[in-house]
Amino acid sequence: MQKITREQLIEKAAALLAGGTVTAVLGWSKGEFDYDVTPAVFHTAEELNKDFVWNDFCGANFSKYLVAKAAKEEGKVLVFLKPCDTYSFNQLLTEHRFDREKVYAVGIPCEGMADIAKIKEICGEGISSIDCGEKIAVTTIYEDEPVMIDAKDVLAERCVNCKSKKHVAYDELMGEEGTVIDSARFDEVAKIEAMTPDERFAFWQNELSRCIRCNACRDACPACTCEKCVFDNPNSGVENKAPANSFEEKMFHIIRAFHVAGRCTDCGECSRVCPQNIPLHLLNRKFIKDMNEFYGEYQAGEEVGTRAPLVNYTTGDIEPGEVFDRRDTDA
């Protein structure tokens, strides 16, 4: 259960709207089902009272929405940011993607978000309603009594391995300041690294062949903000279409992950939005882990204005071939 309540957030937003500090609010609203909460823009207290949602399904990271919204809006935009969202916020500022003056950021605490796939593993399909209280109460069309689930048991992968409860950017903070967490987020990557090349190949073939190239991972990613994307280019042969074979699958995933390498804040949006449950974070974290090992610890978005490892260099950098030599001697 979240520590902060929906009412507190509405009250805060309504007060800022009434006081004229902001003219629009970026928030979550109910989707078709209780669990597919979607981003929305609110302009009045009435709208907020009617549709605003805050519960264990508010995973959406709003930082990227600021690129379009802050440019369009006359006044300031209020944005609610969970700790992990603030890293994306800083990263976008580093890349000059929106005007900081046009945004009023309110940091809100987060207890971790629920993963609907894990909930469905427990109670199956046919979910008619979900109530997030002390426990998550899931009602299905097959049972009269709701199934009570402990939120801790169905946490999203990125929240199990949460890297920080600390807000690195805000104008105002609700609740208490958290701390950076020493998480186990690289453990899975290390496991894959320890496999044989054949096993790795089979593992990724199995994962990536499920991709339907819906582009949701790219669209949701706060690091992917180019207005023109190579994967939309009609001359590329791979524009907006399902991968024709395993080469195209791999190409998409290598290029997507490479393009955000060094800038990816590990916010986890890509894995969250993937309808095929492909563990995209395992690709991103490979790059993060490698760069930490090759060039020193770096967390994208921790501060505004830092230089990402791939747009930086030192004269004594490791050679591409040495990367493997080192790994072989380690093993």
Binding site: R200, A202, F203, W204, T315, P320
Partner: protein, 144 residues
């Protein structure tokens, strides 16, 4: 039936200012290196985008090598330092996906190193030949 001897197709991206001239020198000195090394001249090694490497494999390459000026000698001062970081990241990722790490390489070859160029290509071609055809990053539509 006659079995054709397998010869790997190698794509070598060579920067205009050092490695391409190095290849030229190798030719002038009549040094042998496999004819299946296809050289693509690029203005600087850092012109090579990860997509180029993948496309080369797609179109039938069995190995891809990137050659540039020695670190510190890049015609554009720092291009090859970026190449070095990018390719370290990219090759490590390819390895992570289970693609043979011996199929990719970066080598620094100056304009005066014709012999090094030929030796590098011979060595790389035999390493790749030992692996056989590129199956893991192939695109059957591009195969003849």
């Amino acid at each position: 039936m006659q079995v054709k001897e397998y010869k790997p197709l190698i794509v070598a991206f060579c920067c205009n200012w050092c490695s391409y001239a190095g290849a030229d020198l190798a030719g002038n000195n009549r040094l042998n290196y496999p004819a299946d090394v296809k050289i693509i001249r690029v203005p600087c090694s850092c012109r090579v985008n990860p997509m180029f490497v993948l496309r080369a494999f797609q179109r039938g390459a069995d190995g891809v090598i990137i050659c540039g000026c020695h670190p510190g000698d890049c015609h554009y001062t720092s291009g090859n330092y970026f190449t070095r970081r990018r390719m370290a990241a990219l090759f490590s990722m390819l390895d992570y996906l289970g693609i043979e790490k011996e199929r990719t390489r970066v080598e620094w070859v100056s304009a005066a190193e014709g012999a090094k160029f030929a030796a590098t290509m011979n060595d790389f071609a035999s390493t790749v030949a030992a692996l056989g055809e590129n199956k893991r990053l192939e695109d059957l539509r591009c195969k003849k």
